[in-house]
Amino acid sequence: MAWTREDMARRAAQEMEDGFYVNLGIGIPTLVANFIDESIDVTLQSENGMLGMGPFPYEGEEDPDLINAGKQTITELRRTSYFSSADSFAMIRGGHIDLSILGAMEVSGTGDIANWMIPGKMVKGMGGAMDLVAGVKRVVVIMDHTSKAGDPKLLKTCSLPLTGTGVVDRIITNLGVFDVTDDGLVLVELAPEVTVDDVKASTEAKFALAEGLAV
């Protein structure tokens, strides 16, 4: 049984470690915040200029001066600090963020990622995605294993314009978890009742099986 969006977010939350500073992308990655183990201390960065992002405000308490990178109203915490966009991306580019969890349209077996542009469709822009994949210490992608049309998204080579090359460390899909290693893609976990053959059938990129993978 493939993972749901919530399952994927829950699994991604396990990537967090005590003391981590983490940037979460828009979409499923945003959900990850709901599943962070309460016994560890994690600080969320919002690249528009904030460390220590809190939950959505209670109704009537929205502050137009307090939004996240998805332009949603949010709240601050006791640990919060604010800074400029230049300082925010100095933090990101300088390798100070421990983990970024992002969505993607395509990922290649060598860790290339495409998540900002589909030729022929209106180009909205890359926002901070290129900076995040280039600068953050560890990049984890959450995405459906295949497109809505059923096409593989884990490819030998990305077909869409790239966001970054060789930058993805781990991919969490509805079928399982893959690591990008020097020797290529390795399947390290399977969703319940999903078989290696299921994965193979919907994956274009070659992948190895991790030792001890429960199949």
Partner: protein, 233 residues
Amino acid sequence: MGKLYTDAVAALDGVLFDGMTIMAGGFGLCGIPENAIQAILDSGVKDLTIISNNCGVDGFGLGKLLDAKRIRKMVSSYVGENKEFERQFLAGELELEFNPQGTLAERIRAGGAGIPGFYVKTGVGTVIAEGKDHRDFDGETYIMETGLTADLSIVKAWKADPQGNLIYRKTARNFNPMMASAGKVTLAEVEDIVELGELDADAIHTPGIFVQRLIKGEFEKRIEQRTTRTKEG
């Protein structure tokens, strides 16, 4: 010497010309210079190159200048909130230069800091790197990006003193401080002008040296995506 003007129209007197480059602060609709945008619209100035992370929404923020077809070129990182943008772009009426958000922020900082070029990893191996100088440092490849300046910067802060010292509030800071430093002329609009000496000298984000003109503005402060949670029990 007075930096204080009665309103944005007065503050922009003698500064605007067709074909000029303007930096506009803000992220989405958060921390945008609403008053200066309206005054620029009212002035009739056109063929503008606008450097701003986003381009407002239809009918608000920089969307007003877009709707009136005053913008020739946008330098941005994300413009997805705006249907009129899409229409003009697809019709070939609008030039567009995308920058990764952090690269854009740093290019503006560099422009204000007398740094004409710098190297970043961001965008290496992507369309962003095409035509740019590549250079290796310690075995890793970087691309050169250039500093940006503008004929005019319009920024929005929370508080100012009459010397033009500025303090921003929460995430409304965003691109405003760097833009304030990169404009040949910088107009700051603020919610409150306090007496000299009232601002904490350690807490000033933009020293007055970067602000040539200053107004107290009126702000709608529209919220783009109102997300809330419900109070439990």
